[in-house]
Symmetry: C2
Subunit: 224 residues, 2 copies
Amino acid sequence: MASQKSSASTTATVVTRAATGAVAPKRERGRSRVAAILEAGAEVFAEKGYGGATMTEIAARSKTAIGSLYRFFPTKEALADALLTRYGDLMTERLAAIEARASGLSPSQLADVLVDFMLDMSADRAIALPLIEVTQEAEEKRAHIRGAIRRGLASILTVLDTGITQAEAEGLAVMLLYLLKAVPQLACNGSEVDEPLIARIRALVSLYLVNELPHAQRLANDAS
Amino acid sequence: MASQKSSASTTATVVTRAATGAVAPKRERGRSRVAAILEAGAEVFAEKGYGGATMTEIAARSKTAIGSLYRFFPTKEALADALLTRYGDLMTERLAAIEARASGLSPSQLADVLVDFMLDMSADRAIALPLIEVTQEAEEKRAHIRGAIRRGLASILTVLDTGITQAEAEGLAVMLLYLLKAVPQLACNGSEVDEPLIARIRALVSLYLVNELPHAQRLANDAS
DNA sequence: TCCATTTACGAGGATATCCTCGCATATCTC
DNA sequence: GAGATATGCGAGGATATCCTCGTAAATGGA
């Protein structure tokens, strides 16, 4: 069961890399191939789930020979792990960007920003939610990612509403996380986007934030 | 790929049965064994996902020989299908029961009822949400079940608020469905229940319903 | 008790899947 | 161009998994 630990070179490249046994490519060709593999992996995992996805299909869809695939990802688990870390990194990175622009937003504006953010994330194929749901070997990693996202959301809330307590911000962040997590499943059928449904979601998130961030709301009203 | 179609006897027993090739047991012993298999199947599917679950493990966990398992469920897909229909039947049945007692409830009371309902569903091992998420062969069946649940929720809403339009009730039902679907994942870690989190969920659902059902809210106020 | 039917059982075949291995090719440095 | 390193490739081994099949036990009615 234990995957062989090859010495992972820890040079941080453009795409972040975990120390799971994934071998980092050193030339440009390899890097683009790894990108294609990740893309195909995200697709197949999303369609078939972790157990249902096969390395052969991932190789075929990324136009990679099976041997080459295993050169970069010595294990199916390593590929899933790389996708998870990429997902986590992308989330925290973008949340940080939102936080930087958060001050001065009204709660309802923040709701729109967050919903847009989730739509973006699901438009990218960067997302592998079914994988996240299913793989249990990576439970600790998933918990870690959830924690990071939760803290990111909590930070945004404290920036937006300086009157909120730390505990309350964390609690709200949990609720927000699950509200937002439903967005891709709710609003996207394949690559179609259900606009009226998105409007409903915006309204719901906005309603919740307005209701739970009275201090920020008052600030926004004073400003207008 | 096409599973052999054995002649399914369509005698409706206690546990409803689909025409997927599942052979209905005719004696008590077989019936309890089928129940055990469904139980174990729900567990394993929930833990490993559809692709990750193995018939061998399901057989072992239900203390059933592999041959006996295949007597009642000639295919892994047949077992998954039986679980899905059982889930759908249970949902619609219980929703109908709620609808029968819905008239006179305030929106916030309905919110409590619905959240309790979902907690019940996840306390039973009847639920196999990850399976529902992952299996794509049964996409049409999943859509069918979702439709039934949505209509059930819409019916409840129209009973509760006679001023609501049909279209609006359907739209709200979609949102409610996804809010409620998150309940088990949110509130249950294994078999633990996070009470304060449930309180938050109740408040959120209640807030949403109160906001979207003004007519029913007015009725409730008049009654008090 | 005897028989028909249902249920129990697990070895094993066919297939699928993960992954290895050895060699061929491309790319970089000098 | 020569050597070194990274990358590309796919046949095939080891294993896992789905499912079949033939036989034995249990059950219920006559």
